[in-house]
Symmetry: C2
């Protein structure tokens, strides 16, 4: 058996998430169907993280085992020729026999984009949350840092399930970096009436979070909580308090999936391939 | 009668071009339908340039006359609330009574994007031509400058029709600027196997052209000709020769519409609104 590692990018808009589901178009389903057609084998595809419906990826990683004689470049070409343009194989490599995209992942980075201007450009509506109302960006940026470190994220999880539930059953997660960045979008300054309602605010807020692993809906609950901080509904000090409370009804809402993107997955040097 | 100026952006992928056509979804058709619903008048919408099917806009300009008592901001809000997210009104202003988006346009800028990497990111396939094969970028950049100035563009036009045929019946057009830019796309360097096939080539080539007005298919024929220069099928000196020849079968092909975007329309100071 040979083991291949794929680096994937996809626009999640028109798919029902990563995980294969009968009768629905999913990322795993589309890629698995092509691999089965090409190899005539019952291929099983493992991803670093199972992204939810509507979530995008710039650097998802997956692996599969096969007895096929195709090499990595041939797999990449066949997949890109047969998949819809919204799913692309950015890279394919032959990996060591025990490489597993989920079990060996050491860190994942997610981005969440919040569009602050009055009008969402027609090229971006699939990838941003539109939130044109006043927000205290400085408080949100400070609050974002409170997520860093090892914490019990029960208050920031879905009621059930985990992005990687096979691996960890505890709600404790380690976040290496959590920050809110202000983005000036090129071209926006030329259309004065499309600037944010509040003078001096950025066109876009980007929440970037890098952690070892995440609970289901965790990033989207973190963003909802940061927005509540920005609105003054929650205080900075509420975040450490929410770790203690372990009550998901007290944190912010789960924001919509389409602003979220799995940007990168990292592996230890010995597990690169 | 009041006269309103709209600045529009749209993703042309799912529309049959600007011009209203019975039974087909077009940009002019979608916007006109909303304006007629809102005003209960038989609104006629004039654009600076009639973009073809699949062509995008970041700064199309249009105007319409109405007896409505709605103000510019109310028109903008109503349109953005009722139009699909792929069509957005970036700005709306009340204009002088004789402002006409097409007749008074002084310059238009178009961009054409050519993706040079091996794989088109899933977020960009609607907006770029994929051309991953070797090209002499330096020759193309030099050739692009040959379009500048006033020339007979018969060799670079569709067999019939003009983007703005009401205004000018001559094939002579003035190009103020014509240049090919090399774009390094952020993030691309992290996926080595998705870099351009030829070392040192940019991820993307962007053709930017600013002119007073354009013949139908003119920008797409100019790009097709530049690609032929990049492939060595045409020489630099063939461009002045093509102006003389007045034979559209001798220039390069008409490249697909989806790489093209109407970026901006300019008006003289006295005609700004």
């Amino acid at each position: 058996m040979r083991n291949f590692k794929l680096t994937l990018a996809y626009d999640g808009t028109d798919f029902h998430g990563w995980q294969i589901q009968p009768g629905l178009s999913t990322i795993q389903g589309e890629i698995t169907a092509v691999l089965r057609k090409v190899t005539q084998e019952n291929i099983v595809l493992h991803a670093a993280g199972r992204t939810d419906a509507g979530v995008h990826a710039q650097g998802q990683v997956a692996n599969f085992q096969t007895q096929s004689h195709l090499n990595a470049q041939e797999f990449q070409r066949a997949l890109n020729a047969l998949l819809p343009p919204a799913i692309r194989v950015l890279a394919a490599e032959e990996a060591g026999p025990d490489f597993h995209a989920r079990w060996h992942a050491q860190a994942k980075t997610y981005h969440y984009r919040i569009w602050r201007g009055r009008v969402v450009p027609p090229f971006d509506w699939r990838y941003v949350l539109h939130y044109p109302f006043p927000l205290d960006g400085a408080a949100m940026a400070e609050a974002a840092r409170h997520f860093e470190g090892e914490h019990d994220f029960t208050s920031f999880a879905a009621s059930t399930g985990s992005e990687d539930e096979d691996r960890e059953r505890t709600p404790v997660r380690e976040i290496f970096r959590s920050e809110l960045r202000s983005i000036a979008v090129p071209g926006c300054e030329t259309i004065a009436s499309n600037r944010p309602a509040v003078v001096g605010e950025p066109d876009e807020l980007l929440f970037a979070v890098r952690g070892r692993s995440f609970l289901r809906y965790m990033v989207r609950k973190m963003v909802g909580t940061l927005i509540d901080v920005g609105k003054g509904r929650l205080a900075l000090t509420d975040i450490p308090r929410l770790f203690e409370l372990r009550d998901r009804s007290k944190s912010g809402p789960t924001v919509p999936p389409h602003g979220l993107c799995l940007v990168a997955v990292e592996y230890p040097e010995a597990r690169r391939v």
